[in-house]
Amino acid sequence: MLMPRVIPVLLFRKGGLYKTTRFKNPVYVGDPINAVRIFNEKEVDELVFVDITATPERRGPNFDYIREVASECFMPLCYGGGVRSLEDVKAVISCGVEKVAINSLAVENPDFIREAASEFASSTIVVSVDVKRDFFGRYHVYSHGGTRKAAWHPVEFVMLMEKMGAGEILLTSVDRDGTKAGYDIELIRSVSEAVGIPVIACGGAGCVADFSQALEARASAVAAGSMFVFHGRHRAVLINFPSQEELKGAFFNRA
């Protein structure tokens, strides 16, 4: 019985943990180290930690801080934000991080993924793909924290990334980010069916039933932000995570 991974995504900016809606309006949700400790106690499968201001501020990763976060993580940790070179990847890994997520650089220079995957193994390199729908409902890949439209359709882009040696795709729907309105199932299905590597669905999860839908659409793993940091209608900040029993019930009663 293989449990799909359920992954909290934590967004870090200016010394605190924030949660965005459609990549905008960051709301402060607490101290990152404290949140990591809580997720640790709750035995989450994996954590994604993203420095959302690194690329916009044109700076690299904050290695001291990553080291501090990693030392509290007794589960796999994926870091993203401001990674611009193979040296950056190496330095992030040496902080005690298992996986490095690349977003803007993968769009600008797809060959970088090939170099990084051959140097550090595919399973270390996660390509983070942010996607928005336009007025006509067409999907487009975005970079730089959802601010720059790339010339790629997500399906073409993930196929290229797989060819370059990416180990996983972290697929985020910018339109659903922070809304708890459910995943963009059509997007997840089209991307998951196009590649053999694992696709982690992200953006829109509001409850455990949403996870099941994404998995039915062939995502390999599910990620969420708001669902794990906000509680109730008034979005009170409360770090939470479903129990193994609850997840088992949701995943294995389907089909």
Binding site: M3, N40, E43, A70, C73, F74, M75, P76, S94, P198
Partner: protein, 205 residues
Amino acid sequence: MITIIDYKTGNLASIANMLKKIGCPSVITSSAEEIDRANKLILPGVGAFDTGMRNLIALGLLEVLNRKVLEDRVPILGICLGMQLFVGESEEGELPGLGWIEGSVVKFKPELSEKKLKVPHMSWNHTALRKESRLFDEMYDEPRFYFVHSFHVQLNREEDILAETGYGYWFTSALERSNIGGVQFHPEKSHKFGMKLLKNFAEKY
């Protein structure tokens, strides 16, 4: 004191972190002299079989490792690639392994399973114990561990198999023969389950 062998194949900080958490002092080293003084060893490692062996050779560690493990019978725990290096050969490479345990390293064959399983096997998964071991002493119920690998060991002697895990079919996810233990999964990234296993290795060997 546990000596973590640094042969330039990936992430050692996580192992040192978890040992620190359980209050076990550790040292990370590439030095043959320091390994020679060790009374407990961890051989970690992520990556390709040949790279691992080539690095051990280049660092001049083969002789001291063989002596410590086979003659002095110092307890050693191999993790992931570290465990795979214990056997004689790998489909992944051309160099011979350490050859302490009879067997080989083979690639996952997803076609042998009914479902189209993805390789690498990157997931939390369960282990089914095939014999008694101090490594699993007082282990929590339904232990689950984090795996990331495309290759796994296939052992010649059934009595060396400590645990198996199902991924399309059953493969050896832990091995043990006297002072030599190995796990395919990453205890350092497996919450209380991995912590318990490392604590057992630190305290009961």
